[in-house]
Symmetry: C2
Subunit: 772 residues, 2 copies
């Protein structure tokens, strides 16, 4: 835990520059626009500790895997979103002294992430070794309007001197990833020039993505543009820049504008990259920084109209929830169906491969409720497009007949992970992918998706489950051996309750969807049957498994058992752990973790959340209490799910405690690791713990339903959701719940399980009904 | 499977040079003397595929570990016995053509490993591209008399031409390991010179072992020494050599002698290395090659006097058993108590770290029966000397109070392995180390070892077991969770029968030894108690575990269960596997292997072997039959143990079938991997399958006991053993067993469980009693 962020409703604020916090701040102040993303590295020279990060979504490198002991079936590479050519540099030198923010004496420092308007701001006063003081102010944004454009407005003022200053404006493509397995650099230079605009076209090795990074710049003083006449140009491999010499006067501010356009071969042919980049620059120069910035801010404001969560009476919680939402919105916009959401978004290199089960289990609900339908659909369809690769992946492991195992980690449909206990065993991900189809269709009502895309995926996953179980003569039941559940503090267990439960659920749901599609349009069903070589007798085998699957159960405690043998453990309460032992994975040997009862995130609780309709509240409560007591929440995906289930069983205190933990995970750096990047996908879980947890939102029989309560410490909160063709705002106050229908359609919904009807642009308020 | 070795009783023979076999042959024809070891790389130029290997026992490099995902408790390095400076080069050039054995046309080729006398021989006729034919013959040995000395006699004859030939005689310290994790070279040059003898002193990085490699040479023709007057000297970093120009006449043989002395800082101070190396060279030159060679051969002959196994009627089996014995004798001589036996001896780089549980479980019995007592004692004491490190190793994992976990792989007492399922879980090794103490004391009768060294180790291991189990409320028994048994095709299982069994056995034996030492000499006991901070109340806890340990059992089949949950598997017979699926680890995904019933080597069978006295024959038979049917023997340590147990239960056919598999594993390259090196430690298992298996040798109540049978296909076999102060020869013929007492002491022994007494230098023959 490390707190240095000031509270504010719409801003993330750092005051007092402390170099030890710099890498953490670089993560926290990251900006992005769905296509490009930056860590908040300085424009200036910085010789202290920094993790340079500048990423282009979809541009990756298949870094040769490094692994101690190879297992048959391991992939050859780990796909990494890579550090891209850096166009942010505005590097100042005064006399012989570089303005190196690590070496200068920094005062009057403020760094701000403006979440409402999506930009990064800072100001500071830097004292050079010779006593000269320079005042600096900067604004930076990655345009949410034109996602191939970024801009910086940089103001520099000699504070206590007048002299020539040197301004280096550059593009540096000679960048590397810190986590390169073999210390390799991933870019080669294809082309570069200073005219008409400075640009570099760089190419990734192996994957041959071409990326053009072009810049334009201008100088202004007293509202007048000027062109420095004295300058040098520098170039070497993968680098070019201009150094301008400018006579600067004490207390007179020079403003520098730097625009960058970044175009990639993901979107253009190689020979059109430069031309498109130049077009962006020309347009930007014409329109000017201020207008571009205004447009950008306006679009961001609009995003909040659909997605904001307001909390009154708890500024830390307010800041945190907006920080979570902001990062989700800037990481994924759904514009490009080839993209997905990495666990760290654009904020670090860790978990370089893009897609994990996080997308399906945590992120999808957020985008379903805050973005147009096609955004969520793109996320779900992403896996449909990888179906063939998932079938090949399963084949490599020995499965057949069109069974699919979607990868644990992927960027292009191929598996990237290689720890056998995860790659081959953490197969519950397949279930989450099936569940996301269900979730998408339930929320949107878009049943066409099933015949268009969903059913083929469901059949392939059901085939996998069918082959992955075997019949135990001893138990006279189907069993699933060698599994790792979401609780990665247990590996290679037999009969993981969650995995087996989601497997049966998938089989049932697939049969249900088959029947639905068949009844709706037999031609669709025939087409899918041919495409999947599906024969209806497969259903019989699935049904046998559904009817005879073994699920471990503790009769004595009347609870579901996480896995076979779990009762052999010594049961301890997580509260018995000492602070210096936490997080366990940093302080205990793996041996001790595996043998202990402690749970990283509780499988069973995840299942209670997904399948809550199958269990009565007492069952959920018994199981939650048992598992929560042993859960250390050392997965960023843990606390949010537990919080939602705690809300469900009316354990409001616990729900709030767990919410706090998930909401400020990064802002307060709970696990001393935020410098590696933000936990972007788990932020969706935080959002869920408000909307699904405190707000009790569900879809029941096609109707949106709310069951809200107000955490004790809050005065009120509200959230906005899109549901089908309606925009709703839910406001929860003490003893009062209001729902505003911001749309032109009438909505029929459930509040505390009672049906209500709200007319277009009308508001409904229930008083005194809060169930807390 | 790849057969190219000719059968011969005392020799390993390769005829017809086929480059594809070269790397395999380099392994198979390896020579060593306990301190130095060579793969059979050519003296000549060779541009084809080769794995250069030249090793000095105890000289290692801590190669920075390469691992995909780090777990707390993993070591930083993997210790490797490294490829040492190469002194073997005698490289011929005729005109402009190098005598490159890969590029020449080779005829009349023969490579011989003479096992009786411990040397490598080859002859060949090589045709150069210009048609010139060169006849070559060479003898090479690593002196078993002076283990810092090696020698080559090299004969070269221009076959169809006369001309000047160039002979390059060199030392090359610019060598590397193929398996270097980061492509690093491990040696730096310290010193080199041509005078008075060419030498290089090289130093390992990080570990700073100094190694002096010095050579001397001479030329002879027609029995007369001569000195070539024309020569060049070459030197560059870590290299030096002389190129001699010699006028050679058609059909006139030139003989070259090359001696090498290798001294290391393991045995001398750095400033004495050169002087000692020179002393060896001077002595060698004085004595001359022939005499040195004769001495060497004589010592080898003597070794066979104590260790030979003769088989009549099956030349393949005869060759194989001698090949196994030969490799054991040349790998470890027991002279240096700091050394141990690597799984590949001096024949390859794989499993670079030296010591595995192979030493205790497989090798120890061989050395007990074929070498003076101190040799086996050194092996056992090796772990005593690492006790403090083993305690630290356990502490890293969270154990305390002097509990010791000996490493899975080590060269200096520190753990080198990093797969969590092995490093942290394959803890049965601790039991094997305790068992080796028992085995040593039982065989030798050296009970002083217990108070001198053994008990401290036993206490530390028992403490580990005590902390490694926990009490299961559900089972009301002690359980051992998260274990990998010798069957590495199951990972992270609960209650592995073998591991739990050896754990209880250790606790019992430790208590027994404590009582023994206490009764024998209370001062010894007090000293040990102080040294180990041992309090007798620890025994109570151990006893509770002994009395209440859970061991999985199948009531229905009346067999011990390999682990919890094993009965959930689908049971198949290993014979149902297709040839193209074998070995499974090369053809199946790890996922499929783990979930299958197939067994790499059967844990339970290993336990039946170690603890056979605890079980009646029917129990052993039931368990053996059950597990053998599922065992694929893809560990080189598997077939031998199964063979011994098959012998025990009188399944002679199976015993013989498994013997064949283990005996010619390398000679016939069963698993297509012999090019990586020989399975040296498993060779001791082969020897055991003859002596303990066919011969039925055991120690019972301090008496050596035999229970031999004759495999159907053999006419007879005999083996020699040292037992305490006796040398015995056991000859088994059809319906006849003879025991010759080759010593001056009377021996009291058991044959087919009947007591017999054999006078000094007398022979006993039993006729018609064979139990087959």
């Amino acid at each position: 835990m490390k707190r240095f962020i000031k509270y504010s409703e719409w801003e993330i604020i750092e005051e007092n520059f402390i170099p030890e916090n710099n890498e953490a701040a670089e993560s926290i102040f990251s900006i992005g626009n769905g296509k490009m993303g930056h860590r908040a590295n300085f424009e200036e020279f910085y010789s202290g500790k920094t993790l340079q990060g500048n990423y282009i979504s979809g541009v990756y490198y298949p870094d040769k895997t490094r692994v101690g002991w190879w297992k048959n079936g391991y992939p050859d590479y780990f796909a990494k979103i890579i550090n891209a050519p850096d166009w942010r540099g505005i590097k100042i030198t005064v006399g012989k002294n570089k303005l190196d923010l690590f070496k200068c004496k920094i005062s009057d420092f403020k760094r701000v992430l403006n979440m409402k308007h999506g930009y990064l701001y800072k100001h500071l006063l830097a004292e050079l070794p010779d006593g000269k003081q320079v005042k600096v102010e900067s604004f930076r944004f990655l345009s949410i309007v034109n996602d191939e454009l970024g801009a910086i407005k940089y103001l520099i003022t000699p504070f206590n001197f007048s002299s020539e200053i040197q301004v280096l404006i550059d593009i540096d493509a000679d960048v590397s990833n810190k986590d390169s397995n073999y210390g390799e650099k991933f870019w080669t230079e294809v082309d570069k020039s200073f005219v008409p605009y400075p640009y570099i076209v760089a190419q990734t090795k192996k994957t041959f993505f071409n990326l053009c990074t072009a810049i334009n710049y201008s100088f202004e003083q007293d509202g007048e543009e000027f062109k420095p006449t004295k300058f040098l140009s520098y170039e070497h491999e993968k680098y070019l820049g201009y150094k301008f010499f400018i006579n600067a006067e004490q207390q007179k501010t020079i403003t520098i504008y730097k625009f960058a356009a970044v175009t990639s071969s993901l979107n253009y042919s190689n020979d059109a990259l430069i031309e498109h980049a130049f077009a962006h620059l020309e347009n930007a120069s014409e329109v000017g920084f201020d207008e571009l910035f205004d447009e950008h801010k306006k679009v961001w404001s609009n995003k909040w109209t659909d997605a904001d969560v307001e909390i009154s009476g708890d500024i830390a919680a307010q800041q945190a929830i907006r920080f979570n939402i902001f990062n989700l919105l800037q990481t994924y916009t759904g514009k490009d169906e080839r993209l997905n959401i990495g666990p760290k978004g654009f904020t670090g290199e860790k978990y370089g491969g893009v897609t994990y089960w996080d997308t399906e289990a945590y992120c999808l609900p957020f985008y379903l409720s805050t973005s147009p339908q096609n955004v969520a659909q793109n996320l779900v369809k992403y896996r449909y497009k990888h179906l063939q690769k998932a079938i090949e992946n399963a084949q490599k492991l020995g499965f057949n007949n069109g069974a699919a195992l979607f990868p644990m980690v992927t960027i292009n449909g191929e598996e990237c992970h290689n720890e056998w206990e995860i790659t081959f065993e953490e197969i519950h991900r397949n279930g989450a992918i099936a569940y996301a189809i269900y979730n998408y269709v339930t929320y949107t009502g878009d049943k066409d998706y099933l015949s268009d895309f969903g059913l083929e995926v469901l059949i392939a996953i059901s085939r996998f489950w069918k082959q992955r179980v075997n019949f135990s003569e001893q138990k006279q039941k189907y069993v699933m051996l060698g599994v790792t559940g979401p609780n990665e503090y247990e590996n290679n267990v037999n009969n993981n309750w969650y995995t087996s439960t989601i497997a049966i659920w998938t089989l049932k749901y697939t049969i249900e969807v088959i029947n639905f599609v068949k009844n709706k349009n037999i031609d669709d069903f025939k087409r899918i049957s041919v495409a999947s070589s599906f024969y209806e007798n497969e259903i019989e085998n699935w049904q046998k498994i559904i009817d005879n699957m073994y699920l471990p159960f503790d009769e004595k405690r009347n609870i579901f058992l996480q896995q076979d043998g779990f009762l052999d453990k010594e049961f301890l309460n997580a509260q018995s752990l000492l602070p210096q032992e936490r997080p366990l994975h940093q302080n205990w040997s793996w041996d001790r973790i595996l043998r202990s009862c402690f749970i990283k995130q509780a499988d069973v609780v995840q299942g209670l959340f997904f399948f809550e309709n199958n269990f009565d509240e007492q069952t959920i409560k018994r199981n939650f209490d048992f598992y929560e007591s042993m859960t250390v929440h050392e997965s960023s995906l843990s606390a949010c799910t537990h919080s939602i289930v705690a809300s469900k069983i009316k354990n409001y205190k616990k729900a709030y405690e767990l919410y706090l933990r998930t909401a400020r995970l990064d802002l307060d750096d709970y696990n001393n690791e935020v410098k590696e990047g933000l936990h972007v996908t788990s932020m969706a879980g935080t959002w869920m713990s408000v909307v699904y947890g405190f707000g009790g939102m569900r879809v029941k029989d096609g109707k949106i339903s709310f069951n809200p309560f107000l955490p004790e410490k809050w005065n009120s909160y509200s959230f906005k959701i899109l549901y089908r063709n309606c925009k709703l705002e839910i406001i929860v106050k003490k003893d009062e719940v209001s729902i505003i229908n911001h749309s032109d359609a009438e909505i029929d919904l459930l509040i505390y399980d009672n049906e209500h009807d709200i007319l277009p642009n009308d508001e409904l308020t229930l008083v005194g009904l809060l169930s807390i």
